[in-house]
């Protein structure tokens, strides 16, 4: 233990010099790791999964046309400026999201392609999701193997779908079949995670001392977790596995070379002090920070949950108080459909803000968006019927030149969404034969 700590101290000293770098549009990836690994002019690929719940009004969502000659559905009109940067898909399905508790079954199945075990709490079981598989594979290269963000904690009291624990419909990303990777919803905590010590007026000495102390604590508690691990059976061991895994992740994060972000790195962002009430304000804060994290290569994979499945948020800023889940079960009534569609449009409008930000960050000859793959969608198509065929799916970015956007792709009916995930995993360096219910890689992402 002591040797590592001493070398850590030496490392902190040697790296404790702030390198002044210009910020924003010409910002290159910062980390030493990145600098060492990437040849000049090449940039890592990044993958973000953005999720919205409760399905859509399909008539308004659906785009028309095929190939490069297509017309965006009304719900997607905010994406008009990015039409050449996006692929619009038709006919993806997530058939393993089916089940009695539709919302509970949908959320964990979306990025895993696997169905969940029905339980209200004892013996939960979902499946590892593709963002976490990618993080396992390439996460070592960055300070954060992955980031999980959201604008909604999910239900924190009462009952969710009858017979299903709320853990299912609040968690999109799962580290293992029994452990979710919970999303960060509080912008202040995310800010501190990303930029702590840089923008808070805290001296780097204090921060270094804290990090050294935290490393020692992690060493100390790891020994104890191992003791416990030795004497418990398999069912309880997974609790200690989670704890030990978390220790490893945190150590890696602390030991990563300092970012040495220049002053005002958060784009002039203030440290947020509260969780904004309006969805727009909240989403933009989270999106801004995610753009910075991607731009500075703090992470290469993330998930971002606009709201959790079955969400009952109401959006008074849209001029009505009926809640989201309620209007999603519109039963074909025009006034409810209109309200439902307004919420769908509102989400797409904010998504367009995120895409706009990514497209304004220059990377080499192109933009950050060019090196990204940003999926936008949800696990339900028609929310009214809890349908899982033709789920809303859009993909932004060129994946570092591996994707030709600007098209609408009409797939054979009920093509597993996992075919898309498998193809994107592949582009992120996570090669696999199959994933979830995939039947093969998606062809035609490039022309």
């Amino acid at each position: 233990m002591i040797h590592r700590l001493i070398s850590r101290r030496a490392a902190l000293k040697s790296l404790g010099v702030t390198i002044a770098l210009p910020f924003l549009e010409s910002l290159a990836p910062f980390t030493k790791l990145q600098a060492a690994e990437a040849a000049p002019g090449t940039f890592p690929r990044r993958m973000v999964f953005v999720y919205f719940p409760n399905g859509v009004w399909m008539d308004a969502w659906k785009s028309t046309g095929e190939g490069a000659d297509f017309k965006l559905g009304p719900t997607l009109s905010a994406f008009e400026p990015f039409k050449s940067q996006m692929l619009v898909f038709s006919n993806f399905a997530d058939k393993n999201a089916k089940g009695g508790g539709a919302h509970a079954c949908t959320m964990p199945a979306y990025l895993s392609g696997e169905s969940i075990y029905k339980t209200a709490g004892n013996d939960i079981r979902a499946a590892k999701t593709c963002d976490q598989l990618i993080a396992d594979k390439i996460g070592d290269a960055t300070r954060f193997p992955s980031l999980e963000l959201g604008c909604d904690f999910g239900q924190q009291d009462g009952f969710c779908d009858t017979g299903y624990s709320c853990i299912y419909q609040t968690n999109l990303s799962w580290k293992s079949e029994t452990t979710p990777a919970p999303k960060e919803v509080n912008p202040r905590i995310l800010f501190d995670r990303l930029f702590a010590g840089v923008s808070q007026g805290e001296t780097s000495i204090v921060q270094q001392q804290r990090e050294a102390m935290n490393l020692s604590i992690l060493d100390f508690v790891r020994d104890q977790a191992r003791e416990i691990d030795r004497v418990v059976n398999a069912a309880d061991r997974r609790r200690m596995d989670e704890y030990l895994t978390s220790i490893r992740d945190l150590e890696k994060r602390i030991q990563a070379p300092p970012l040495n972000l220049p002053k005002g790195v958060a784009g002039g962002m203030e440290r947020p002090t509260r969780v904004p009430t309006l969805f727009r304000d909240h989403f933009r804060l989270m999106a801004d920070m995610l753009v910075l994290a991607l731009q500075t290569d703090m992470t290469r994979v993330a998930s971002l949950v606009m709201a959790t499945e079955g969400n009952r948020r109401s959006y008074p800023e849209l001029g009505f108080t009926e809640e989201h889940h309620g209007v999603s079960h519109h039963g074909g009534k025009p006034d409810l459909i209109e309200k439902f569609t307004k919420i769908n449009e509102h989400h797409a409008g904010e998504m367009a803000y995120f895409i706009d930000r990514l497209s304004k960050v220059r990377e080499g000859e192109g933009t950050l968006l060019d090196n990204c793959m940003i999926s936008y969608g949800g696990g339900m198509a028609d929310g009214n019927r809890h349908a899982h065929a033709d789920i809303p799916t859009v993909l932004f970015g060129k994946g570092g030149g591996t994707i030709t956007p600007g098209r609408r792709i009409v797939l054979p009916e009920e093509t597993p969404i996992c075919n898309l995930w498998l193809s994107l995993m592949d582009r992120m360096g996570m090669k696999a034969e199959r994933f979830g219910d995939s039947t093969g890689q998606l062809t035609g992402l490039t022309v």
Partner: protein, 661 residues
């Protein structure tokens, strides 16, 4: 120099005799379940088949069985196969038959003897599939919830209050956030534990009193005022001397942090941590710094963050007394045991004194956790914070009223708990707690001022019991109107622990325009129930909600909705009919056995941190009869739960049973 504490010595001595971790004991986890293989049996006799055929399969049979539940079985094998795929449905069947809800009243009814044949059969089948376990298993390792963590840090460091709101929220199961299997740990958790421990140390530094005795630089030591570490500043002592001091701090602190005796080796471990981590900063043992470092580390230790219990090697055995102390304190206080509980555990006298300890604990201010943690979750009171009545339709509603509504219910619950009153008052109390605003809201005269007070409702037949409180009526209403369905579901979930299945997809919300045109929500629901697919559940749900139609979406009494007079009549599936809300409340009061069972189950889920299983059913019934015989006093529920085997014992790990595969 009183620096060796006899208590501590005793603790350490006992640690060696019971601590499995100290012993490094290995355990046998391969015990076979008694019923992993099911032999051919003859449980499913022709007599049983005949009864099912006579009373059940008309509806629950054929190609399109009601509620998708078929009770047609070709053979014993089929019974077993279907049971293995979903034993819950079968448990539900048993309950409905036992409670006389099935077959429905208007159908042919089985005799008591016939019922017994069916129930005995069902019980045998369930037992053979689920295993003849005496009770369900509790996880050996349970993370503290966010609430438990905050309370534990508060009590461990003798703070008045401690907040841990930056920890990730806990996921919900069975309506509660302390379900063992959902208390997972992620990198975010650990990140927050490190940060929160740092905050705790900062708060300690700010709030702790400086003890002059402690500060004496001559090496003498006397007991700190309250037994907690008291920091000192500006005193630098020699390395060795400070090691001694830090060790003394730990000997006090660590057993409380780990909630069990610690071995000298465990103290050595922490001392070594302090020595190494401080060496990193080029410092030796400066007492405040080193003591803070060790305390901070202990707050991130799995021994602190998790409640860890020991399994017997085989069979069933009582948990040790330290484990019992924690079970009691986390049940009643949502926090760690206090010195008195630890003291009794140390001398193995807690079990024999548990009844008086329970009554002491219920009187302690920390028992407010039963209201703030248990009852708020049980009643879904968190939903009140999210209720968003439309300001145009309900101008009377504002943040102050929201607060008042919650306060009424909290005071009401606390009154029953602290006064050790009958739990039936949750259904039928003839009093409540009001201030002027809420009294006006209810139309109760003669209450003035901000202060809440107990108000008798004997002349006021519109209110009484939880169901008529504005909090409940508001949290179960959508923004623009009442929802008899939501209210009905709330009653079934909360008061009867028997939630209905979720609705199938493609069911629109109520047609409000149609409701306006044709009369009322009631009328729309009537149409809805004409659909056979809906009738099964809605005949159970709707009566409870329709009876409450005299209360609007923020709980104001009304006799008209729009231009139409409210009709709050209805009938339960068992045929009992009511003409108005007063008669409804009479009938509700007649459902005491069901409520008692539900309340026991809710408290038991909360106490054990897990959902109940069929194997627990016998225990639940035993607890219920004890509680009934003691006049349904609140403390009798607590005591009966604590005295049950579920709470007192653990069993050796059997084969991991039944995940539906």
């Amino acid at each position: 120099m009183k620096w060796h504490n006899t208590l501590l010595a005793a603790l350490i001595a006992t640690a060696a005799s019971w601590g499995p971790l100290a012993r490094g004991e290995t355990r046998d986890t391969t015990l076979a379940s008694p019923a992993t293989t099911s032999q051919a049996r003859t449980t499913f006799t022709p007599a049983v088949a005949t009864l099912l055929d006579k009373y059940c399969t008309d509806c629950h049979g054929g190609d399109n069985p009601k509620n998708n539940l078929s009770l047609e079985f070709a053979s014993e094998q089929e019974v077993q196969l279907r049971l293995k795929s979903d034993s819950k449905v079968f448990e539900h069947v048993v309950e409905r038959i036992r409670d006389g809800e099935m077959p429905p009243k208007k159908k042919l009814q089985p005799s008591d003897a016939e019922k017994k044949i069916l129930l005995t059969w069902a019980d045998q089948e369930l037992t053979s599939v689920l295993g003849a376990r005496p009770f369900g298993q509790v996880a050996r390792i349970r993370r503290l919830t966010r609430v438990e963590y905050a309370n534990t840090v508060r009590d461990l460091l003798y703070f008045d209050d401690f907040k841990a709101e930056d920890l990730p929220p806990d996921d919900i199961g069975y309506g509660f956030n302390n379900i063992a299997d959902l208390l997972t740990v992620s990198t975010s958790h650990l990140e927050r534990y490190l940060a929160t421990a740092e905050l705790a140390m900062a708060q300690l530094d700010k709030t702790a009193k400086v003890s002059t005795n402690w500060a004496a630089a001559d090496g003498t030591y006397s007991e700190p005022d309250n037994g907690v570490f008291l920091p000192i500043r500006n005193v630098k002592l020699g390395f060795n001397n400070n090691q001694v001091r830090v060790r003394m701090v730990l000997e006090k602190f660590l057993p409380r942090a780990y909630r069990r005796p610690v071995t000298p080796a465990e103290i050595d471990q922490v001392m070594e941590f302090a020595r190494l981590s401080l060496a990193q900063e080029g410092e030796s043992f400066i007492r405040p710094k080193s003591a803070y470092a060790t305390l901070r580390a202990a707050l991130c230790s799995p021994y602190f963050l998790y409640r860890i219990e020991t399994d017997p090697t085989n069979g069933i055995a009582p948990i040790n007394e330290y484990e019992l102390a924690s079970r009691l304190s986390y049940f009643l206080w949502s926090s760690m045991p206090d010195d008195e509980l630890f003291g009794l555990a140390e001398t193995n006298q807690l079990r024999t004194h548990q009844e008086e300890q329970i009554s002491r604990m219920l009187k302690d201010p920390k028992a407010r956790a039963l209201t703030e943690n248990f009852a708020e979750q049980w009643l879904h009171l968190g939903g009140l914070k999210k209720a968003a009545p439309d300001p145009k339709l309900f101008p009377a509603f504002d943040e102050q009223l929201r607060q008042d509504m919650g306060e009424e219910t909290r005071r009401f619950v606390t009154h029953i708990i602290e006064g050790n009153r009958s739990i039936m008052e949750f259904l039928n109390a003839d009093y409540t707690f009001l201030n002027e605003r809420l009294a006006k809201h209810y139309g109760v005269p003669g209450v003035s001022g901000e202060e809440f007070r107990l108000v008798k409702l004997d002349k006021q037949r519109q209110r009484g019991g939880l169901l008529t409180q504005a909090s409940i009526l508001t949290l179960s209403s959508p923004p623009t109107r009442t929802s008899p369905v939501k209210r009905g579901v709330w009653v079934l979930e909360t008061l009867f622990n028997n939630p209905p299945s979720p609705p199938p997809a493609d069911v629109p919300p109520l047609d409000e325009k149609a409701a306006g045109a044709t009369g009322s929500v009631r009328h729309v629901l009537e149409i809805h129930r004409e659909n056979a697919q809906c009738a099964g559940c809605h005949s159970r749900i709707d009566p409870y909600g329709l009876a409450l139609e005299n209360y609007n979406a923020i709980g104001i009494w009304r006799t008209k909705e729009g231009d139409h007079y409210i009709d709050s009549s209805g009938a339960f599936p068992d045929g009992a009919a009511f003409k108005n809300v007063a008669e409804f409340r009479e009938l509700l009061n007649g459902k005491q056995a069901k409520f008692r069972k539900a309340f026991v189950e809710k408290l038991l889920i909360f106490a054990m941190g897990r959902g109940l299983e069929y194997a627990d059913d016998r225990t639940v019934r035993e607890i219920c009869s004890k509680v009934e015989s003691q006049g349904d006093r609140f403390s009798s529920v607590i005591l009966a739960i604590v005295e049950s085997d579920l709470f007192q014992k653990r069993q050796a790990q059997a084969t991991n049973l039944a995940k539906g595969n």
